[in-house]
Every structure is written in structure tokens, then in C-alpha cells.
């Protein structure tokens, strides 16, 4: 009986219901939108780390951990090879071409290092060094309808697609065209800069030492193990999380106060109805659950609207990013609704108790 009575009440006061929900709509919208960045970055970093697992990654200092925009001196490679504990150093260069998008330039060594991390050819064969041949990433092929033997025009030259890669799980790699670095250098005339070095330690235990040595001795480049990347990203995110927490706390508090206030007033307004329900045999518990459900329903409806809007919020954030960074995950949605349910319960309990305590006679006398 309770549910339809609650819905009836909302139907009778549509505007008030909407305005009461507004706080929670805005609160959940803000929290979910901001937190979607954290979710997206975590997802992206984990996805990156999977592919460089066990390696030390070296990129340009500053500029965060954006490998796409990193530019480092290719000639440093020899010096890095001489650091103790280093087994192999491989190089990768990312470029973006207007006609085909992202291209990853590799060397036989870098492919060799990455081979350990689930990158194989799904179809066809590997490109040959020096030849105008490319491999394409799994999702790049899928999204652009590319098959073996197709010709891609890159920066004015024709390249034959000789291989399609297996899905690696790394969205950068899967979404790009892969060619050998020597061909890329020939194509662009840039022989001096690359994007990153990947260092394979002799044993995994050497990774920390290599990282430390590079960071102490060089200013222009920075090294990171996947562990330290995870840590520093975690640190960055923890600040974002604190912000979300503060934002969420304030928004929740305000919404709870608004809902409580409206519910207290609406309970007073409905003394006669509540008195009648008690007089005809409704128990205190039935009255409490009715009012409580009303408060919870209000905040959950608000949260639902907030979550829907936050998809727009995430899209808005992503429109400023080179790649989608904000993701609304199921986890995030679940947190939003749990938050809403607790706000509903917290704000509803006082008015619900007040309603249950009403003396049916007093309530019936009230006109």
C-alpha cells in the first residue's frame, strides 16, 4: 500500500517534488562527473601498465605521463644501455598524421621486448624493416574496415598493410598503425627525437635501481617503473578524490537538509492524513516506513537524474581531452545510488519519527 501512496503524493506536488530533488540531482551530477575522471585515469593507467609490465619506461620530464606528447633525445639510448642492470633498451615513437591518425614507430628490439606482453600478429605477417609496410592495431583495423593487402596513404606515401595485430588491451596500440622507426624517420625527416625508451632489466629486481639512477642523473628525462607510475597517478588521483569527497559531502549535506526540511513541512501539512491512517489501524512502523520511503524515493529519483546528466558531464570533460578520460563506470553509478539511499534515510528519519509520534486525535482535530 505504501508505494502507491508515496507516488500519489509526488503526483500531487510535481513542482515541489522536482525542486526538492534538485539538490541531489546537482550533487550526484557533480560528484559522478568529477569522479568519472578518476575512474577513467585509473582505467587508462592500468591499461598502459599491462603492456609495459616489468619494464622501466623513460619519457620526457614534466608534462605528466603523457607519452603521446613526450619528446626525448634518441642519442641518449647508448648511455642508458650502459647503466648497471640494464639488459635491453628499446625505443618507441608516437606520431599523428592528418590522413590516418596515430602511428606507432617501433624497432625490432622494441617489438621483441613487447612480445612478452601479448602482442602478436593475428593475421598476415610482421612488416620488414626498411620496406613501406605497416601492421595495424586490432581496433584500428576493425573501426576503419581495413583488411590485409590494403594500401594506406601516409604523409603522401603508399604503405601496404601486411599484418593485423592481436588485441593487446592497450587502447593506444590497438588504435594505431604500427610501422618501423626507420621508415617513420625517412617519412618525417626527424632522426633525433623519439617518444619513449623501454628498458628491460636483467632481473625484475633491478628495475628500481635503474629508475633511481636515471632520475638522479638526468634532468630532461624521467624514468618510471609501472609500480611508481601507479603510485604517482594514485597520488594525483587522491587529490581529485579529496575534492570529490568534499564536493560530495557538501552536496549531500545540503540535499539532506533540503529534503528533511521539505519532509518535515509536508508531514505537518498531512497531519490529518497521518492521523487518519493511525486511527483506522496503521501502525507507527507503517507510518515511519511510508515517510522514509518517500524521502528515499525522492533522493533516488534525484540521483537517477543526476547520473543521466553526468554522462553529459563526462562527455563535456572529454571534449577538452585528447582522448576520452572521463568514464562513468557501473561502480560509480552504484556509489551514486548508495549515497542517495543513505541521504534519503538520514533526511527521512526525523520527519518519519515525527509523523509516527503524532497523536491521531490531535491530527484529526487539525483542519
Amino acid at each position: 500500500m505504501i508505494v502507491d501512496m508515496v507516488l500519489m503524493e509526488f503526483g500531487r506536488h510535481k513542482l515541489r517534488t522536482l525542486l526538492t530533488m534538485l539538490g541531489i540531482v546537482i550533487g550526484i551530477f557533480l560528484v559522478t562527473s568529477v569522479q568519472s575522471i578518476s575512474e577513467g585515469v585509473t582505467y587508462y593507467v592500468n591499461d598502459q601498465i599491462a603492456i609495459t609490465s616489468g619494464l622501466v619506461t623513460v619519457i620526457e620530464s614534466g608534462g605528466g605521463y603523457n607519452v603521446q606528447s613526450s619528446e626525448i633525445d634518441y642519442s641518449l639510448m647508448g648511455e642508458l644501455e650502459s647503466i648497471g642492470g640494464v639488459d635491453k633498451v628499446a625505443v618507441v615513437k608516437f606520431m599523428s598524421f592528418d590522413d590516418i591518425g596515430r602511428v606507432t614507430g617501433t624497432t625490432p628490439e622494441s617489438e621483441d621486448i613487447l612480445k612478452g606482453v601479448n602482442i602478436g600478429i593475428e593475421e598476415g605477417r610482421g612488416a620488414i624493416e626498411g620496406a613501406y609496410e605497416v601492421e595495424v592495431g586490432y581496433s584500428y583495423a576493425k573501426n576503419n574496415g581495413i583488411t590485409l593487402g590494403d594500401t594506406l596513404k601516409i604523409n603522401g606515401s603508399d604503405f601496404e598493410v601486411v599484418g593485423i595485430m592481436q588485441e593487446s588491451g592497450d587502447s593506444d596500440l590497438d588504435g594505431s598503425v604500427i610501422m618501423f622507426l626507420d621508415v617513420m624517420q625517412e617519412l618525417t625527416g626527424d632522426y633525433d627525437t623519439v617518444s619513449l625508451f623501454m628498458i628491460k632489466p636483467v632481473s625484475p629486481a633491478d628495475a628500481d635501481f635503474i629508475e633511481q639512477t636515471i632520475n638522479e642523473e638526468y634532468d630532461d628525462i624521467q624514468a618510471a617503473t609501472d609500480k611508481s607510475i601507479q603510485e604517482s597517478v594514485g597520488e594525483m588521483l587522491s587529490q581529485l578524490n579529496i575534492m570529490t569527497f568534499a564536493l560530495g559531502g557538501i552536496a549531500s549535506l545540503i540535499s539532506a537538509i533540503v529534503i528533511m526540511n521539505v519532509m518535515i513541512m509536508s508531514v505537518r501539512e498531512r497531519r490529518r492524513m497521518i492521523g487518519t491512517i493511525k486511527a483506522i489501524g496503521g501502525t507507527d512502523r507503517q507510518v515511519i516506513s511510508m515517510i522514509l520511503l518517500e524521502a528515499v524515493a525522492l533522493s533516488v529519483m534525484g540521483a537517477a537524474i543526476g547520473v543521466v546528466l553526468s554522462f553529459g558531464g563526462a562527455a563535456f570533460i572529454n571534449s577538452f581531452m585528447p582522448r576520452p578520460m572521463a568514464i562513468i563506470t557501473p561502480r560509480l553509478i552504484a556509489i551514486g545510488f548508495l549515497l542517495a539511499i543513505s541521504i534519503g534515510v538520514i533526511s527521512g528519519i526525523t520527519p518519519a519519527r515525527q509523523a509516527a509520534k503524532m497523536d491521531p486525535i490531535e491530527a484529526l482535530r487539525y483542519e
Binding site: 500500500m1 500531487r12 492521523g275 487518519t276 483506522i280 489501524g281 501502525t283 507507527d284 491521531p360
Partner: protein
């Protein structure tokens, strides 16, 4: 001898005025029995305590002193939930201002006590429709209270009071808001329930002509019973 449905023993009800130490006694040691199947009118001027007497009888209010028994059970030892259960199952209330719930249809209003008793909506509505038919409102099932006349609303309230098949119907000035004609038809409906379905009917009124129709008149004055008399020659008696 008939079973006693309501027994009040030396019942006192005192109201404190705003905690200022001023007390008003609504009931001053009232003792009275109402038997099953009786048709009783409680009559008295306003402020005499007649409504309080009915509220105490119907477990809407608790006395400060004295004992109340409903169907042999002492109510002072019962929990709030048990009292609610008595109001839900043993008693049907009819109020002066009908007290229907505005957003609900006639059938939904009538179904409410049954749904509070845990019965599903469909079944309760089906039963409610039968009772609305019983009070002559089969054409008003889906009307909201504000689409009905006062007399019709009070009939809906009577149907609501009947739905859990209670022992007694307690009416607090049930005709107070109605014109003479619809008031009379509401009273006749209650009398019919008394005669045909052997319901105990207790009404509170300040109208002596209404009270004279009952089998028994209890006159209240200043919180006490002034007169308790039986009317032997009423036509609806049996």
C-alpha cells in the same frame, strides 16, 4: 446476557494546558459498559467530554487513570501495535469531517484499512467495491473525495469502517457536516448495519433527536455520566 464489548472502569482523562499547571478534566471517573450489538448514542454539550469518551473506548486515546477493556482485554497493557490492531480489526471509525485521503479514489480509500492489515491491493480493492455497492455508491468507485458530495463521502467513510468486518462502528458526530436529508440517510445506513449485521454502533452527537433514535442514550456532562437510559420503543429495534 450479551457479551460486553467495551468496559470503562473509573476512567479519568486529564489534559495539561501548555505545561502551565492548568489541568482540564475531560473525563472524571467514568464507568460504563457497552454490550455487543448495542446501538448507543453519547450525547452532551460541546466540551462535555463525549468525544474523549468515544476516543478512549476506541483506543484512539489512553486514560490517565482507570481501566479500559475491549472484548475482555485490558488495553493499558497492550503495545501501540496491538492497539493499532484493535482499531484496524475490531473497530470502524466514522468521523465528522469524513477524513478520506484526498489523492485516493473512493475504492482505494475503502481498501486502505485492509491494506494496512497486509492484504494485497487487488483483493482489497475487490472487497472495497463490494462495500461501496453495499452503501449505494457503486457508481463512484473511481471518484476522488473532492468529486463527491458530503453525504457520499461519509458513505465512503462508512464503507471504509466496515471493510475489515469490525465488531463496532464508532461515529464521532457522523452527521455534523451534513444537511438534514443526507445526515438522516447516513444515520439510517448505520441503523441498518446495526439491525441487519448486528454491528455495535456508538455515535457521539449533540443532537437530541438523533440520540433519541438509539436504543440507549448516555448523557455526558462535565466529564461524567449524567444519565444513562434505554429507549424501549424505537422502530428499528428488534
Amino acid at each position: 446476557m450479551k457479551e460486553i464489548l467495551f468496559r470503562l472502569e473509573n476512567v479519568w482523562k486529564t489534559y495539561k494546558m501548555m505545561g502551565k499547571g492548568i489541568e482540564t478534566h475531560a473525563l472524571r471517573g467514568v464507568s460504563v459498559d457497552v454490550k455487543k450489538g448495542e446501538y448507543v448514542a453519547i450525547i452532551g454539550p460541546s466540551g462535555s467530554g463525549k468525544s474523549t469518551l468515544m476516543h478512549v473506548m476506541g483506543c484512539l486515546d489512553t486514560p490517565n487513570k482507570g481501566n479500559v477493556y475491549v472484548d475482555g482485554k485490558e488495553t493499558s497493557v497492550l503495545s501501540e501495535d496491538d492497539l493499532a490492531k484493535i482499531r484496524r480489526r475490531k473497530i470502524g471509525f466514522v468521523f465528522q469531517s469524513y477524513n478520506l485521503i484526498q489523492g485516493l479514489t473512493a475504492a482505494e480509500n475503502v481498501a486502505l484499512p485492509m491494506r494496512l492489515d497486509g492484504v494485497g491491493k487487488k483483493e482489497a480493492i475487490k472487497r472495497a467495491e463490494r462495500y461501496l455497492l453495499r452503501v449505494g455508491l457503486e457508481h463512484r468507485l473511481t471518484h476522488k473525495p473532492n468529486q463527491m458530495s458530503g453525504g457520499e463521502q461519509q458513505r465512503v467513510a462508512i464503507a471504509r469502517s466496515l471493510i475489515n468486518d469490525p465488531e463496532a462502528i464508532l461515529g464521532d458526530e457522523p452527521t455534523g457536516n451534513l444537511d438534514t436529508k443526507s445526515g438522516l440517510s447516513v444515520i439510517k445506513l448505520l441503523e441498518e448495519l446495526h439491525v441487519k449485521e448486528k454491528k455495535t454502533v456508538v455515535i457521539v452527537t449533540h443532537d437530541s433527536r438523533l440520540a433519541a433514535r438509539a436504543d440507549r442514550e448516555i448523557h455526558i456532562k462535565d466529564g461524567n455520566i449524567d444519565q444513562d437510559r434505554t429507549n424501549h420503543n424505537n422502530s428499528h429495534s428488534h
